[in-house]
Symmetry: C2
Subunit: 208 residues, 2 copies
DNA sequence: TGGCAATGTGAGTAATCGCTCGCATTCTAG
DNA sequence: CTAGAATGCGAGCGATTACTCACATTGCCA
């Protein structure tokens, strides 16, 4: 689709002040991206918002795309860490508890910054990271499938891989759509309840 | 987020040749948008691809955004017509049949042009139509909720509105993710089977 | 056939914006 | 304290692209 651009940093910040500069730049990038999209994300606007000079910006980021790539990387790392921690936490919990926890955490994750999530995903065809996303996503599916496989005796599941795919897609979509389009549902306990109901009934476990 | 741009046509094609011109322009727009994204969608590139002059393009479209807006409109109209036809078709069918039909049609819809679907949705913050999308989406939710409400006696559903939200989000996400990320699943009968299983178990009806 | 409406053309303009580079300032270690 | 590394600055350049406008061609109807 797109020719890939280099997003490797030119220089890495060593001093405190330069680390703060980079943080300011990335913070400004996120704010502008959410508010104005990629079109409104001019490097001069970022530098202005961050309170640094345009030359400083280019010290640490080789081009505009690299700004966005850095945000994407951070977000993927964060999400990956959270997912693994959550899965580790519920690995041996009873299914109803595990299901509820995963759903709750997924909703919380999207509720935190729905617009930023959305707009960053949209930049992927432009700045890269599709392979990383696919890899992390596959990783999550494998973990979920492994959990389903290990406890297949207690579940009404035919194919753990397919079940993992269907469930992950559904839970993520419910969380994302609520966050983006129906934020009032985020504070309605029924959102988690109904999502749990759907999952537990599908798995054939009673809704603890 | 964005300042809205005018996307009203400057002139409407009357003769066959001008209608063909407009079709060529929109066809080229779709192809370039899918292949290169909005960045690569220059009006000169569209005119080249369509085999028309840049001046002709501006005869019918006041600006670049209007090209994309026209594609979005078409897609929304198409999807809306399909959804309503499908819902009318299954309104009185037994639930297992109705569920299977809706899932199959949703998957087929996304399977037809997954990349174009994705990239058009992403242009909405840029060219408008969010209100229209929300309206159509609400319409679909209301229709589904009405069906669930009308047959609540036979379903294990607590709140038809919430159930409609959860189901529509899930089915659409499964279809979209399969189409975009795991196209091999599109030809696997288990995809429809498992999705049907999830829905019918959630609704508390037997999986005809 | 002729006149007017419909349609098509594309060179060129003005604005925007990504990015550079020469210079200035601050920090750190010997 | 000094020298060199680290960091910051911003005017300005060159490339790109959305769009115009004066002119040309085709279609249709009386």
């Amino acid at each position: 689709m797109y020719r890939q651009v280099k997003t490797t940093p030119r220089k890495r910040p060593r001093q405190t002040r330069s680390k703060e500069t980079v943080e300011s730049i990335l913070g400004a990038t996120a704010r502008i991206l959410v508010k104005h999209g990629f079109d409104g994300l001019t490097t001069n606007a970022v530098a202005d918002q961050a309170g640094v000079s345009i030359g400083s910006l280019y010290q640490y980021f080789p081009n505009k795309q690299a700004l966005v790539a850095a945000l994407i990387e951070r977000r993927l790392d964060d999400k990956n860490a959270r997912t693994h921690a959550a899965l580790a936490e519920v690995a041996s919990a009873p299914f109803p508890v595990a299901v509820r926890t995963m759903i709750r955490l997924t909703i919380e994750n999207y509720a935190a910054a729905p617009e930023l999530s959305r707009v960053l995903i949209e930049q992927v065809p432009r700045v890269g990271r599709m392979a990383r996303i696919a890899e992390l996503h596959q990783g999550t599916l494998k973990l979920v499938a492994a959990v389903l496989q290990a406890r297949k005796q207690e579940l009404a599941v035919r194919d753990p891989d397919m079940a993992a795919f269907v469930l992950v897609a559904s839970i993520e979509a419910i969380a994302q759509r609520a966050a983006l389009f129906q934020p009032q549902r985020l504070s309605d306990p029924a959102l988690i309840e109904e999502t749990c109901t759907m999952v537990t009934r599908y798995l054939g476990v009673s809704d603890g």
